[in-house]
Subunit: 336 residues, 3 copies
């Protein structure tokens, strides 16, 4: 198994074999992702971290993951690149930037743009979100989190998963269910208002691949179903008007009493973050914060080691991580 030189643009690039390979690699990298051990395997390498759409969190996560492998990061921030404002095509930008870096991470507001960019890139490209399109690294860290929370990769076969919220525009959910479709007999329960349900094309594809998909707008039924309950934010920025988005805000808010009354015992709570903390939103109420099953911060932490795994794999250095490894000497992160 090797991903040397591969682009990771879509869940289509991720076979079950590749997913399991990356999960096992990410697990090995956990101590490095936390700064407990350090490695310099990518010392001298450069990541171009291109964000044409603001996303501080994802940008820092990718950058930190690359730094944890010893590499250097060149960032762009803001909604445009000055050269593109001057009329440059994405094809030219890709030719140019791929002469400056060894790997490129790219987020862009237009569906398909990252794939178009990758066509003329001379180095591997990782898609960090193309508009309402895909976000494959988020899906990988989500699946990695499920494996860690449920105890083994075999738990993904026959998984009972509940997804809740904005299932129409939420690209994290789309990429996640496409990835889980690589496993066997997943039973998906979709909790959403009818107009925000999972797109029919995704449902059909899942069913044709032998999975079960149910839809409801009853959050209690959803909570009763899932070994994992995956809540999402209303993607307000994708709606025609703020007023339209606001009608859905807080529709499926889960708090501690609802969780305790309705959820399957031990059900893991996940969320791609950010949680909307504003009055009336609260997809996962803050009164859940002390709950052991609330995995949302372990989930974001897992993003570092999964992104390290991706960088190490596409650059072909995963077997050399230990060569330059040592214990770190600074004070480690405390748990709260």
């Amino acid at each position: 198994m090797t991903l040397r030189g591969a682009h990771i643009l879509s869940t289509d690039d991720l076979s079950r074999e590749r997913i399991e390979y990356l999960i096992q690699l990410a697990e090995q990298l956990v101590p490095y992702s936390q700064g407990i051990r350090i490695t310099r395997v990518l010392e001298g390498a450069i990541l171009a971290n291109l964000f044409f759409e603001p996303s501080t969190r994802s940008r820092i996560s990718f950058g930190a993951a690359f730094n944890r492998l010893g590499g250097a990061v060149r960032d762009t921030v803001g909604i445009g690149m000055s050269s593109i404002a001057k009329g440059e095509s994405l094809r030219d930008t890709a030719r140019v930037i791929s002469g400056y870096a060894d790997v490129i991470v790219m987020r862009h507001p237009e569906v398909g743009s990252v794939k178009a960019f990758a066509e003329t890139s001379r180095v591997p490209v990782l898609n960090s979100g193309d508009g309402a399109g895909e976000h494959p690294t988020q899906a990988l860290l989500d699946v990695f989190t499920m494996v860690r929370e449920l105890g083994s990769v075999t738990a993904l076969d026959g998984l009972r998963l509940t997804v809740i919220g904005d299932l129409k525009y939420g690209r994290a959910v789309h990429s996640l269910v496409r990835l889980l479709a690589r496993f066997d007999r997943v039973h998906l329960m979709c909790v959403a208002d009818p107009e925000l349900q999972l797109p029919p094309a995704i449902c059909s594809a899942l069913r044709q691949a032998g999975h079960k998909v149910d839809q409801t707008s009853d959050v209690r039924a959803g909570l009763a179903h899932g070994d994992v309950v995956y809540a999402t934010r209303v993607q307000e920025e994708r709606f025609a008007s703020p007023a339209e988005a606001k009608r859905h805000r807080g529709r499926f808010s889960i708090d501690r009493s609802l969780y305790e009354a309705s959820a399957k015992p031990g059900a893991v709570l996940m969320h791609p973050l950010p949680r909307d903390a504003r009055e009336g939103a609260q997809e996962l109420s803050t009164d859940l914060d002390g709950l052991e099953q609330l995995a949302i911060f372990r989930q974001t932490d897992n993003g570092i080691s999964m992104r390290m795994a991706l960088f190490a794999a596409v650059l072909g250095v995963e077997d050399r991580v230990e060569e330059t490894a040592r214990e770190s000497t600074w004070v480690a992160r405390r748990e709260l």
Copy 2:
């Protein structure tokens, strides 16, 4: 003495013992801060440098200090984070970012915000300014500069200090006098227009701690008083209107002839920078630039070694700096 794992949010976190410890550490780090010697003690560590309010200078100063210790820096710039725009609470942001980094520097326009953030951070947080609140690292580098200019830490006991300018809104001054209050018998002379004088609560606290505080609007009296004269800019961005701020601009401008006529012989001139170079402002006129006692650029240089001291101390690696140390080979900074 150890600061391992500590947050540095306020001058309240800085006892006299801690201040003296940091000063002695910063002094040792001066050759490293200037690129004359290099150390890799924090190789593999990550700083998240979060600026929710623009401050290019402070952001670069913290980032450069961390790089000088061998660490990597992930920056945010601009007035907001995209996740916060999507409704995320500072408590969640802190949980997330503290999973990506080993230490966090934060500037934010709201008083108290950095403290709130630190409550859920799993790694040490350094406050780089919270609105009109505190700026403890500026105060530390200011005190460090006084020690270096006056020749020893004992000069702080009985120090005659003159502060001039916008003493109401200037958080650098507030943090500075709070820090100096840890020492003995400071005699503070406050030169300001009555409506911009040092807040009464700060004056009372100083007096109750055994220090002397005088107020005047006579800049000549202020110059005659101080072993150290600390001038400040009118904080225009904190006034209700530009017109109101403009009335105070240049009120206490000091130039060479005024300095020579009125200042105590050898008096050290300091300023937190930026100096306002615009016509009619000139808190410290550029005709002072050749004067030996003008310490303002040594002061900003000292910021690098003091911030290195803080990072090394809160991460608990201050005794390991020499282990990876060597002379640098590139051409050193020239003095002008």
Copy 3:
């Protein structure tokens, strides 16, 4: 020959001897610029990469070049620095920033600003463009590309060069012809609309130095002339109105059939990039992309090694690059 401690502000700072020295150094650094070999010669050093005018590409190119030498980069982006908004002079900014870094790259919209900044900088300053002024590192990478494409530095003597497009505002062309004037008997053909021709002062200087300058608005005549054909974009942002700029857009578009019909056999096609890919612009049509003589992407790649050469030279470490060198272990860039 040494450039230790030198500022590179203008082509005036670049004698023929210095140009040839930098070309030979850049050639040695090519494997490092591509990530095939790595060096840590500037480990511990800091670049302050100050862009007061947006230019993602140049900013990343300088930053990546410094990273490839092992150094760390502190970036500023956006159109202003907050301290300058508060009234700080460029002279003060230079004093301050040169205490944080070992070398500074600066782009600024005003002609002469970078030179003014360098006067009080305590570390070397490289000009990355000052408005309609100079861009000496672009000129160096262009000349380096000509040497690599034509096979030797001696090809610059007697070079037949055609420059096409906006020769009035294009600072890349201005710096390039000034640099080539250091060599012997250059024969320059300037293809432009009369109102966008090369400024008379530049023409006269070239002629007085023994070079030949012809002007035309016939692109076929230009193509027939040059061993190297250097096309440029209309600098729309420098025109009084967009409408005025638009009149010139696409005036001298070169496509494959025109190249094959009119160009001197083997003529090398160059462009400082970005190419304007918009309908009706296309200074160098995308149907040229497969052509071996299209050097534009090799040209931008060469920018990394030339900028590495500049950093190594002004910091005086060019003889130490090999001391810390090794082969890289990650997967190398593929060619398309």
